[in-house]
């Protein structure tokens, strides 16, 4: 049987939650040596070890979701999940990610070696330890059937324009995330957006606790600082095609490493992360047989499905179509889901 062509997706922030506690112990007993290496690096930096975080008796939002901890924890889980993919069954044709998932994608794709990738994730994750810069909120742009709602989208754009016209207010598109848009802005901008966007299902607009205004111009200083701390020579051409947050494909043999470095620490940090475009490019330029969503968590599956629906991929038109497809022959495998994980590993 020929191997299934798979595009791997690395998750972003916010996917390691209460139910993910013990993820490494649960799934990566065979790779704990590698985790130990991370632990040593973190201990050198006087940071709580990954093992300690993962094996904590209870999930503590103040500890587990703090940038410097959460980023490394998620990155480690994802990277080890990647290594667990059964390559006899799956041929990886490209790797992409959402937001900080781009750093994981660089690591999975070997554009950064073990230490360099850890350094990148930890450095970027620790950037806000002295205080948040702005914030993020998430809001749907689809209807209940997961079909794109242009009126809703226009309303968001209009609201953003009004807010930006007001004194000391800044609000930007932070992430295009399938059926959702993530807005990032300064405190005042986010506050006004929370007040002015119509409430949906008592959930939205939802402020993303602990998150800064990632992927917006408010992170320009962070970008400059990062370029001083992380050097270009730690990057190299990837071993797999990587799809970034603009939908650009970095091919292993023709990768402009300098440009990839600059993208990672400049554009990617200060401008919109278009995860939807990355998935569209994955669909149309790689036509995979399936997607593999690395753990921890599985919450990104919905966003990916919404992008499939937007492009009418495999004749998908609504949420129900997708659910049916997943039941028959899954198109998206989430390694954070026990049953699907077993198919992958």
């Amino acid at each position: 049987m020929s191997r299934k062509k798979a595009v791997v997706i690395c998750p972003g922030r916010g996917v390691y939650n209460k139910t993910e506690l013990g993820y490494l112990t649960r799934y990566h007993q065979d790779k704990l040596e590698l985790v130990k290496k991370y632990d040593q690096l973190r201990e050198q930096n006087h940071q709580v070890s990954i093992t300690e975080l993962d094996q904590a008796s209870k999930f503590s939002p103040s500890i587990h979701t703090r940038g410097e901890n959460a980023a490394s924890l998620i990155y480690t889980c994802s990277l080890l999940d990647f290594q667990s993919i059964n390559r006899e069954l799956f041929d990886i044709v490209a790797i992409t990610g959402n937001s900080m998932g781009w750093y994981t994608a660089l690591a999975c794709g070997q554009a950064l070696d073990f230490e360099a990738s850890y350094h990148l994730v930890n450095t970027m994750g620790s950037m806000l330890k002295d205080g948040l810069i702005g914030g993020q909120l998430i809001y749907p742009i689809v209807d209940t059937l997961w079909r794109f709602d242009i009126e809703k989208y226009q309303l968001i754009k209009d609201t953003m324009a009004q807010i930006n016209a007001e004194k000391d207010c800044e609000i930007y598109t932070s992430i295009h995330f399938g059926g959702y848009i993530v807005l990032g802005g300064n405190e005042l901008g986010v506050k006004l957006a929370m007040q002015r966007l119509p409430k949906i299902e008592d959930r939205f607009p939802m402020k993303l606790a602990g998150n800064g205004a990632f992927h917006t111009p408010l992170f320009s200083e962070i970008s400059q600082k990062a370029q001083q701390l992380i050097l270009e020579d730690s990057f190299q051409a990837p071993a797999f095609p990587l799809i970034d947050g603009r939908g650009k494909v970095w091919q292993p043999l023709s990768c402009d490493v300098g440009a990839m470095y600059r993208y990672t620490l400049n554009h990617q940090v200060t401008k919109t992360y278009d995860f939807s475009k990355a998935i569209e490019v994955a669909l149309k330029e790689f036509a995979p047989d399936c997607f593999i969503l690395l753990g921890p968590g599985s919450t990104m599956g919905g966003a990916i499905a919404q992008i499939l629906i937007q492009h009418n991929w495999h004749q998908l038109e609504t949420k129900e179509d997708f659910i049916q497809l997943q039941q028959n022959d899954p198109y998206i495998y989430s390694m954070g889901l026990e049953q699907q994980r077993r198919i992958i590993c």
Partner: protein, 737 residues
């Protein structure tokens, strides 16, 4: 045996696996400071992608899934041109330029070029550029207007686009701009009249040191379908010309293509002068999928060409310079082959155009939200009109009134450019553009060389670049040598680009017959059929000065707001006509409508007379003028009442509205000054038969099926006022009273 696609692919794999690559060129040596290694590989990947797409479309054709097999095999060197030029440089591409387009797509993240090209092969309605209407190389995002041209008809508009770049800066419509225009074509196309017209015009412009940042690229594979291009024809045809700098490179060596393209594009960018880049290529896999080359070339010749496969040469360059290994090349080829195989399976399943309505929905470009035209102060108008400002209330003839209208329009729309033969200082043969050059300067009002293909092509180019051109064609008969610029280019652009590109303009044409004792056929042509079957094109024909002003304003607004192409036919014989019945009656003159908001909207007819009539006359242009004369005579002498309908807008004809206007008419006379065969009168008869349920009696009067002779003999073949009088009497059975 004759499936050369299979042979060429096997040859590539065999040569690499057995290390039997072609002989090296002298200048194979790679210098990293000129072109970094990653870019060399990226260009090579574009070449491989293009090649695999060529092979795949033939395979899909065999399965009945693809509808286009003209490929780029042998021309892969043009990927290096795509690597040199910037995204801001608009590119009008030859159909063998897929490698260029693939390479350019890498300058803009988020492109899905392979999927998009496959959608175009299979004519899917999701094809992002034409929506399945034609296989074109084009992309809005990549600044590549779609080209369908196989006959070099895109070369003239490249001149307009190139002129537009510095002109926008000169007119302060944009900041400093170093963009250039690229326009590519094949060696066989070089022989087309439109190519020769364009290259001649480029030289003519450059010779006068007018900035023209234009790079023509001729990809010379030595064959036009089966016809050999004579040895060194391209070089010897172009290199000696004044005004255009000639560059040459070997298209099989992408390093050389890169280097020479850079030199040529730097020259164009810096000097703002045109250059001609001659790229020697080969043609693999025949002209198209259906072409069996061995019918006109020996097998040995075919095989020798195949041995010179550009992707083998590229592989050799990369391997010799230790950028890639043969194994890496083969693996990369295999990866691309696999992914295109997978993508194509999806592409063939995507939807196709499913109804006529869907096909035609983008013939008329979408309207666009634009700034309102400028509010012009009275003082400014007064300055532009000069001494005539105070006399606008006098009675004027048509040429003068159009002249006034143009002045007002040029004040309101800074994007308007007026050009053509003699339009500048001379003010046109009939003074319609008199004084415009003085008022608005030579950057907005300028003479063109005597070549209508160039005039219309330049207009398309300017229009595509944000200007609103109002070119003048001096006489209707002159448009016929250049008609394809309207028929094949201007009118089709929106259709082939799903409404993403448009070339709004108003083409003024002095036309129709009845110049007293002057000109003969070429100055009195009365065939307008060339414009009548162009979907989406508006054709206006005013019969008097006041209408001309109000209709010209409507045309300009249609072009400005709705991106329409408008043809504005001005009846020459009425330019200076002031009187209708007798000298000095001034029934055909009018004051200038100074309120610039006044217009006659598209489709609005001019109606003289009411429901109480004996005959309704459907007419336009000179026919309306003569019908007015006849109306007076018939009423006075016979008590016959005519109702006159001046159609004004000849295309598209509003059939239902015309039928509605005829509902109370028992007799209809169609007065058409054009020829009996094929003229508008035929369509009018048809529409009455189809739409008027009360079946009025119909009579048709036209001119004869003749060309127009000189002097008074012209009247022998042209419809006259007396014919109309007689026609009415005959229609009512009163001819012999």
């Amino acid at each position: 045996m004759y499936n050369r696609a299979v042979i060429v692919e096997d040859n590539f794999k065999k040569c690499l696996s057995q290390n039997e690559l072609p002989q090296t060129f002298d200048n194979y040596l790679w210098q990293s400071q000129l072109i970094p290694a990653h870019l060399c590989v990226e260009i090579f990947e574009s070449q491989l992608t293009s090649r695999v797409l060529d092979l795949k479309t033939r395979e899909l054709r065999a399965e009945g899934e693809s509808f286009y097999t003209i490929g780029s095999a042998g021309h892969e060197g043009n990927a290096a041109i795509g690597a040199v030029l910037n995204l801001g440089d608009v590119a009008l591409l030859h159909y063998r330029n897929a490698p260029f387009m693939i390479q350019r797509s890498k300058q803009l993240p988020g492109q899905t070029i392979v999927f998009d090209m496959l959608l175009s092969f299979v004519a899917s309605s999701e094809d992002p550029i034409s929506g399945g209407r034609h296989k074109v190389l084009g992309s809005k995002a990549l600044n590549i207007p779609p080209q369908t041209s196989t006959i070099a008809s895109h070369l003239p508009k490249a001149i307009g686009m190139a002129l537009a770049i510095p002109r926008k800066v000169d007119l302060k419509l944009t900041q400093r701009c170093d963009d250039i225009v690229l326009c590519s074509f094949g060696d066989a196309s070089l022989n087309h009249a439109s190519a020769q017209s364009a290259i001649n015009t480029a030289c003519w412009i450059s010779y006068q040191n007018i900035p023209l940042p234009l790079l023509y690229v001729c990809e010379d594979n030595g064959t036009g379908i089966s016809v050999r291009t004579p040895e060194d024809w391209v070089r010897n045809n172009i290199a000696p010309r004044r005004g255009i700098k000639y560059f040459y490179c070997n298209g099989l060596n992408f390093l050389e293509v890169f280097e020479v393209t850079r030199a040529a594009s730097d020259y164009v960018r810096k000097m703002k002068k045109p250059a001609f880049l001659h790229v020697k290529t080969v043609r693999l896999l025949g002209h198209a999928g259906s072409d069996i080359e061995t019918n006109y070339r020996s097998l040995n010749e075919v095989e020798l060409t195949e041995a010179d496969d550009p992707i083998l040469h590229s592989a050799q360059i990369l391997i010799k310079n230790k950028i890639l290994t043969p194994i890496q090349v083969l693996q990369r080829y295999s990866d691309i082959r696999d992914s295109i195989e997978r993508i194509s399976k999806i592409a063939v399943s995507r939807p196709k155009l499913s109804s006529s309505k869907e096909v035609v929905e983008c013939i008329v470009p979408p309207g666009q939200v634009k700034l309102s035209p400028l509010e012009v102060h009275e003082a400014e108008r007064e300055r532009a009109f000069g001494r005539e400002w105070k006399k606008l209330g006098d009675m004027w003839q048509m040429n003068k009134l159009i002249n006034f209208a143009l002045k007002d329009l040029m004040l309101r729309y800074p994007e308007i450019l007026v050009f053509g033969e003699d339009v500048a200082k001379k003010g046109g043969v009939y003074n319609v553009t008199h004084g415009l050059s003085k008022s608005f300067g030579q950057k907005r009002v300028f003479n063109s060389p005597l070549d209508e293909t160039n005039i219309l092509g330049t207009a398309i180019g300017f229009a595509s670049s944000g200007f609103l051109p109002i070119p003048e064609i001096q006489f209707l008969a002159y448009v016929h040598n250049a008609e394809d610029q309207i028929r094949g280019e201007a009118s089709t652009l929106s259709f082939f680009s799903k409404g993403q590109f448009a070339n709004p303009m108003v083409i003024r044409i002095a036309g129709l017959a009845y110049q007293k004792g002057f000109g003969g056929h070429f100055h009195n042509d009365n065939s307008i059929n060339v414009f009548r079957d162009l979907p989406g094109v508006i054709v206006a024909c005013p019969s008097n000065g006041r209408d001309a002003v109000l209709m010209l304003r409507a045309c300009v607004r249609e072009a400005y707001e709705n991106q329409r192409v408008c043809i504005f036919i001005e009846p020459i014989a009425l330019y200076k006509t002031k009187d209708l019945i007798q000298v000095g009656d001034e029934q055909w003159a009018s004051s200038y409508p100074v309120d610039t908001n006044l217009e006659i909207t598209v489709g609005e007819m001019g109606i003289l007379g009411d429901d109480d009539h004996d005959i309704c006359v459907l007419t336009y242009g000179n026919g309306y003028y003569m019908s007015c004369q006849a109306r007076q005579k018939l009423e006075e002498s016979y008590g016959i009442k005519l109702r006159l309908i001046d159609l004004r807008w000849l295309a598209p004809l509003n059939h239902r509205q015309i039928a509605k206007e005829l509902k109370n008419s028992s007799h209809v006379l169609i007065v058409d000054e054009c020829r009996k065969s094929g003229s508008l009168s035929e369509e009018l008869v048809t529409l009455i038969v189809e739409h008027c349920q009360h079946s009025p009696r119909i009579k048709r009067l036209t001119s004869d099926d003749s060309f127009i002779p000189l002097g008074e003999a012209a009247d022998l073949v042209l419809l006259q006022t007396q014919d109309i009088i007689d026609g009415c009497l005959e229609l009512l059975g009163r001819l012999h009273e």
